[in-house]
Symmetry: C2
Subunit: 121 residues, 2 copies
């Protein structure tokens, strides 16, 4: 299992919002960094395992990754420029718990994302 590659982390830092594996790869190429696509995938995978980045899916199904504080949280993502704000979701946590209880579900997790246009767009 490859270690959390610092060069990939650095790209994600500079990228700001979410970026796909292919984008990370292209970015590194453009900047003259020598790396294989396979290594990009492996590094991102291991960063996800270690909870250093979180991953979600574009509308077309492509996985996108983002550096990310470890604590559980949610996102407000701009459809225009990709700008992302990490937000707190107390209301969601409560909602999820209530609903799960009501229907007898155990061992529950949840996803919740908000998409819109940021002030700049």
């Amino acid at each position: 299992m490859s270690r959390s590659n610092p060069r990939v982390v650095s790209v994600l830092e500079r990228a700001g919002g979410f970026a796909s594996a292919q984008e990370v790869y292209r970015l590194m190429q453009r900047e003259g960094e020598s790396i294989g696509l396979t290594t990009v995938y492996r590094s991102l995978q291991s960063l996800v395992n270690d909870k250093f980045v979180d991953v979600l899916r574009r509308e077309d199904g492509e996985a996108i990754y983002r550096l990310c504080g470890g604590a559980h949280h949610h996102h407000l993502v701009c459809k225009g420029c990709g700008e992302t704000v990490e937000i707190e979701g107390g209301a969601i946590e409560k909602w999820a718990k209530t609903m799960a209880q009501e229907f007898g579900f155990r061992d529950v997790g949840h996803t919740a994302e908000i998409f819109g246009l940021c002030p700049k767009c």
Copy 2:
């Protein structure tokens, strides 16, 4: 644009929870129904356009489809058997609106799903 194919709708009805295009195709094959994979994809796409089904993504990125009331709502999905309950998300709507306002986002939508184990599993 292909019409909302009633045979595909029927499969989704019988399938219960979510099913991928490939699964719908395999199911119809197994039941001796003659249909092309392309047509399955086209029918599902048009059902999504017409809001007769909603679509979300498996963890691996594969799109899954489900017959679905037209109104906006959310899902409680069993990780074990796929059993799905449509739930109401008043708390989420409010949360999304509040967060969007706070950060000046316009034109916002949201997704929210809960995953867990149903009573049977």
